[in-house]
């Protein structure tokens, strides 16, 4: 019975693991571009490595999502609300992919190899191109702002479903 009202375990686990990862990464990003403190390098190095992890996880997540049966939205929602809900999820997935991709590209074109947990290093261009760096750096920054806005909207919507509409949308992810 309960299984039918909730998303598959793999999807729920990935959702909450990535939620923690992404929120930490966004906060780390906001802090590290401002800081001159010695921990800046530590956070920056971790941010890049966890960025690769987030990229791998979102690809896995999209694959699982495409194979899994998702739950229908509550029938009480209007057509506009349903469309909004579906569109916002597409945007969230797009951001989950675009954030690590733009982050890596800005490092690549700036000729900065990315070290992953001391295990291996992602390649970088042998010559830098500052205009391409400018493009990807700005994209990465604006996407971060859009991501924060979308996450706040997503959280607000989840709480609205649970407390105001009193439907099972939030519970289906727990």
């Amino acid at each position: 019975m309960e299984n039918n009202n909730r998303f598959p375990l793999a999807m729920r686990l990935l959702h909450w693991a990535m939620a923690a990862l992404i929120i930490s990464m966004l906060l780390a990003g906001l802090a590290m571009v401002r800081s001159l403190e010695p921990w800046q390098l530590t956070i920056l190095t971790a941010h890049k490595a966890f960025g690769l992890l987030a990229f791998v996880l979102v690809i896995l997540r999209i694959a699982i999502r495409m194979k899994s049966q998702t739950l229908p939205l509550p029938s009480s929602l209007s057509r506009v609300q349903k469309r909004g809900a579906i569109a916002s999820h597409y945007v969230l997935y797009a951001l989950m992919v675009a954030m690590p991709v733009s982050g890596y590209l800005m490092q690549y074109v700036a000729a900065r190899p990315v070290e992953i947990f001391g295990l291996f290093t992602l390649p970088a261009s042998l010559t830098a191109d500052i205009e391409s760096y400018g493009l990807f750096r700005e994209i990465h920054g604006y996407l971060a702002i859009a991501f924060i806005a979308m996450i706040l909207l997503h959280i607000s919507a989840a709480l609205h479903h649970h407390f105001v509409r009193k439907d099972s949308v939030l519970k289906s992810m727990l």
């Binding site: 401002r34 001159l36 403190e37 700036a110 900065r112 290093t121 205009e131 750096r137 709480l159």
Partner: protein, 342 residues
């Protein structure tokens, strides 16, 4: 549980508001912790660029010239560092000579500090940027005092005097400054790593080092004057012969603090010449490929790592902000006219 004791509507709203405030609160906490009493990367670069930034140029060391050449390693470091660059052999590099200051049109001979930066693109995942200055030590030990030092320099000689009086840690820097007289050319200066780094050997041991480039040979030049004197003299020299430096490493002793960039290490410390830096050619800075590079001293190859030196860490973070600003400006076309005009 709480909802049992409270009117239902109130608890719902409270929960929603609390959750939203928590998200927003975490973000603002991050900002607040940054702005309390520490200098941010933005504030630092704001200070460097002043009221009239030169769009598209570096915020520090804005004026310079690109160089190319090769490093001829003699293998003298092979036992203490795994980086293949130091095995006997020849490795090409690109680089940049520059003068301190944010003005890309400043007269060459007016600047008190000169710099040499190198870039070794050893392989796609293994690259090294080196940014060296003429002073062997920093006057201060952390970015906040460094900020105040620049504030004092911008205010004038009286403020500088007062600053150094308040900062006894600048003793070694002051001693160097008193004995230093600028060379007539980029090629005649000795350039220092400023900060210490660790070299790692095959066994996993680490050795803290500083290094310097010591002039080994350069062609004579005419004492041309004018705003681009150092660049003109370099061009003359390179027409005749390469400019050569010995790359000299100083190995820290047990008593040396590798995290303090203001203290000179004793002259008795072991020194090793790792080979020669041979500069063969130059290009105007907007045409050569040094323009696109951020000479971030924390882009390090395998076998070399950063110390905890707060100035070293801050250099990387501040360079990133400067690079971001000029990249954004370059993207917007700030340098198009400059290039065509040359």
């Amino acid at each position: 549980m709480i909802s049992q004791f409270l009117p239902h509507v109130v608890s719902e709203r409270r929960c929603m508001i609390a959750a939203l405030l928590l998200s927003l609160g975490m973000t603002t906490t991050v900002y607040a912790s940054q702005t309390a009493d520490t200098v941010t990367a933005q504030e630092f670069v704001d200070l460097q660029e002043g009221d009239s930034p030169h769009a598209g140029y570096r915020r520090a060391h804005a004026k310079g010239v690109c160089i190319t050449g090769e490093f001829r390693a003699n293998g003298n470091l092979s036992d203490i560092v795994t980086t293949p660059l130091f095995a006997p052999g020849v490795t090409p590099f690109t680089g940049r000579y520059s003068i301190a200051g944010g003005n890309p049109y400043a007269p060459d001979l007016s600047s008190p500090v000169r710099s040499l930066a190198l870039n070794f693109a050893l392989s796609s995942p293994n690259q090294w940027r080196i940014a060296m200055n003429t002073p062997p030590v920093m006057a201060v030990t952390n970015p906040h005092d460094f900020y105040q030092q620049i504030v004092a320099i911008k205010k004038g000689p009286e403020a500088v005097k007062a600053f150094f009086k308040d900062h006894p840690e600048s003793k070694d820097f002051m001693t160097w400054r008193a004995s230093y007289s600028p060379a007539g050319s980029f090629s005649g200066e000795t350039y220092h790593s400023l900060n210490a780094f660790y070299l790692h050997d095959k066994q996993g041991n680490q050795q803290a080092v500083r290094w310097k480039m010591v002039p080994a040979s350069a062609a004579p030049f005419d004492e041309t004057e004018g705003p681009d004197a150092l660049q003109e003299r370099l061009a003359q020299q390179l027409d005749a012969a390469p400019v050569v430096y010995d790359w000299v490493f100083t190995l820290a002793g047990a008593d040396d603090d590798e995290n303090n960039p203001a203290v000179k290490w004793p002259a008795s410390r072991e020194q090793r010449v790792a080979g020669q830096i041979v500069i063969t050619d130059w290009q105007p800075q907007l045409e050569g490929n040094c323009h696109s590079l951020n000479f971030d001293p924390l882009v390090l190859p395998n076998g070399i790592s950063a110390t905890e030196d707060p100035i070293l860490r801050a250099r990387s973070a501040a360079y990133a902000e400067s690079y971001r600003r000029r990249a954004r400006e370059a993207l917007a076309g700030a340098l198009e006219g400059e290039r065509d005009g040359e």
